[in-house]
Amino acid sequence: MSRVPPRTSGYFRTGYGQDFRLIETRWRRVSAALFSLALLVFPFLVGGYYLDLANQVFLASIGALSLMLLTGYAGQISLGHAGLLAAGAFTVGILFKEWNAPFWIALPAAAFVGAMLGVVFGLPSLRLRGLYLAISTLALHFVVVYVGGEYQTERGDYTGIIIDAPSLFGYSIVSPRLWYFVLLFFAAAALFICINLLRSRTGRAWRALRSNETVAAALGIGVAWNKLLAFVISSAMTAVAGALFAYYRGFVSVEAFSLFLTIQYVAMIIIGGMGYLLGAVLGAVFVTLLPYAIEAIMSALPGAQAYAGIIFAVNYAAFGLVMILFLVFEPLGLVGIWHRLQNYFQQWPFKNRPLAGSK
């Protein structure tokens, strides 16, 4: 009789090749293709304002991804994120101001500085854990910003260092649309790097670290080394994000890197969903767009001018509220919601009842 291979329900990996694939199953491949297509078409459909929003989202995603690597995967809490962004931005600013360094030199330089700072930020992590680590990184944030401010004052750029648009292959990147593609490229690269990093030995080591350092050490994972590595990689990425920010906005100034920026990034990874790269991206989108959404809604309301004065306050309050709501009611963040939706549609019309005794 003829051998009919058993029909599989669902997707099973039947070979090592499949293990290495980034995107499994045809359906996923199709949707991914559609999504990237949409991304490519988007800039030709909308005006500069939305392009600017998109660009902000890309910048934020890079930063959020790097923070997610550090906190969401390696379990090292850092409140020095804004400081690192500042470091990247100021590297560009200084290189440009002093030596008029081009894009392709300044960017790697920023990455390098970031990596070096990563070591500095990471050193306390060898000795400290949890909150204390967070605090020490916070302290370092202040130091970095202080130094930046000093430089600004020394050079007399009270209102911030203005940076010319970078030129790539002779083109100078000015138009929002061009920027869109540049930033899209960098964001995609960042995502790709993260994915593969987490599939590697290092990624697994980080996960182990996060869940239990002692056990990780017992399993022969170099705790110190991997912690530092996490800091270095994440910091380098962050610095690049900062550098891109500097180029995109065309200026560098300490005021742009307040403590609140750090809070925003932390919020991104919480709201997005700890421990998921997707979460970092979703969080970046959400946190970046929230204020504009609120503003737009308020300006759409009748008598918008009257509210003009309170938009900031409302934004602020709303931001805090959303963060709280997520922390309290949806610790898994947007990713959690996303997964629940997926399950719902996959099981539709059936509902899944929670295990008896679960809350």
Partner: protein, 385 residues
């Protein structure tokens, strides 16, 4: 969340279409809220009142003026985003920045890319507006780096009897620090000894330590050019230390009210705007307008915005209709606006001077005998070259 974005998109679309009517669209990014709001929000409210008045009186060249007022709460990135929106969405023909200096760099960048004239009203004037001026940038703000220190030290020179040991107090923001360092540099030209320069971090629970240092350094005159908080708290701290000498500081919007609160004969405020106790016709006019509009801020804080309004009106009138950024810029490059006594003289712009040809100063102080604020030194001016 997708939903939210959709809503946002719709809403913005509405806003956009609303602003594309036939009117002069003037785009503003300002620190309406956030920590430094108290400096900028009143000015912008004044501007709004002024423009509303203009509109009710039939607008300019028969066209209404549409102010698109966006809040950047003094965050550079927010300001940049606002500018993007104003230039791409609302198609403004004139941009206004009334915000903290840290928002200048991005604002200027965006204005340049869209080549739309940019007016600084309420925030300090950037270097680009002084001769030789950047074609796109203009400034109506009263206070001006370097000139203010010169004006202040001149006053000290004339008023002080005998040896002057000058103490300087700055807030730890680049702008204020820079200005005070400049004052420190030029002090010797006036024959002053500099007791020291205190750079005070913005949030300070107690100003006494800084004051103590100034006092111990033997300063018999102190000059402070910084946000009002720093100026006044340093002063109060000094007084608490029983320091009885003269204190000269910049007359911010709050000055008039604060002079009355503090009632100190030796507290001088130097400024370019006349105070409302002069009670000129223009002041009464503003008071009435403010009362009619039921404004949140007192009339005493409205001068900056009012002046900006006068200038914008003149500029748009000159640009005619239909107006383009280019036309507006052209009319701004040769503009003379009589400020009816709000300042010592008119605002006059030429091709390479977008600040003003003469910068006027006046010094006030509280007088116990008169139980009122009196002029300590009347208008005196410096040529801007």
């Amino acid at each position: 969340m997708r939903m939210k974005i959709a809503v946002a998109a719709m809403a913005v679309a509405i806003a956009g279409s609303a602003s594309a009517q036939d009117a002069y669209v003037v785009g503003i990014t300002s620190a309406l809220t956030g920590p430094p709001a108290s400096t900028y929000a009143p000015a912008m409210e004044a501007l709004r009142i002024y423009i509303d008045r203009v509109n009710t009186n039939g607008g300019i060249n028969g066209k209404k003026v549409n102010l698109v007022l966006l809040d950047d709460s003094a965050e550079p990135s927010k300001a940049a985003a606002n500018m993007k929106r104003l230039t791409t969405q609302d198609e403004a023909i004139l941009l206004i920045n009334a915000s903290l200096s840290s928002t200048y760099a991005p604002t200027i960048g965006e204005a340049k890319r869209a080549s739309i004239p940019l007016l600084f009203a309420g925030g300090v004037c950037p270097n680009e507006v002084y001769p030789p001026a950047d074609p796109l940038q203009f400034c109506t703000t009263a206070y001006a780096a370097t000139f203010d220190s010169r004006g202040a030290l001149t006053f000290v020179k004339e008023t002080a009897k005998g040896e002057v040991t000058l103490g300087l107090a700055a807030m730890a923001i680049p702008l204020s620090r820079g200005e005070m360092e400049f004052a420190q540099k030029i002090a010797p030209e006036f024959g002053f000894k500099v007791a020291g320069l205190e750079v005070i971090p913005p949030p300070t629970p107690d100003y006494t330590p800084f004051a103590t240092k100034l006092k111990d350094a033997g300063a018999n005159w102190v000059f402070s050019w910084a946000p009002w908080v720093t100026q006044v708290r340093t002063f109060e701290a000094l007084r608490r230390l029983d320091w009885k000498n003269d204190y000269l500081t910049w007359a911010h919007l709050e000055a008039e009210g604060e002079l009355q609160r503090l009632k100190d004969q030796k507290l001088f405020v130097i400024g370019a705007n006349s105070l409302y106790q002069d009670n000129l016709p223009i002041h009464q006019e503003i008071r009435e307008a403010v009362k009619k509009a039921g404004a949140k801020y007192p009339a005493e804080q409205m001068s900056e915005g009012w002046i900006a309004g006068m200038v914008i009106e003149a500029a748009l009138k000159g640009a005619g209709w239909p107006a383009t950024p280019a036309k507006v810029q052209e009319s701004m490059q040769a503009l003379k606006v009589d400020l009816k006594g709000l300042r010592g003289g008119p605002i006059e712009w030429t091709k390479d001077n977008h600040f003003r040809t003469k910068q006027f100063y006046r010094v006030y102080r509280w007088d116990d005998a008169k139980k009122a604020i009196v002029v300590a030194k009347d208008w005196y001016s410096f040529d801007v070259k």
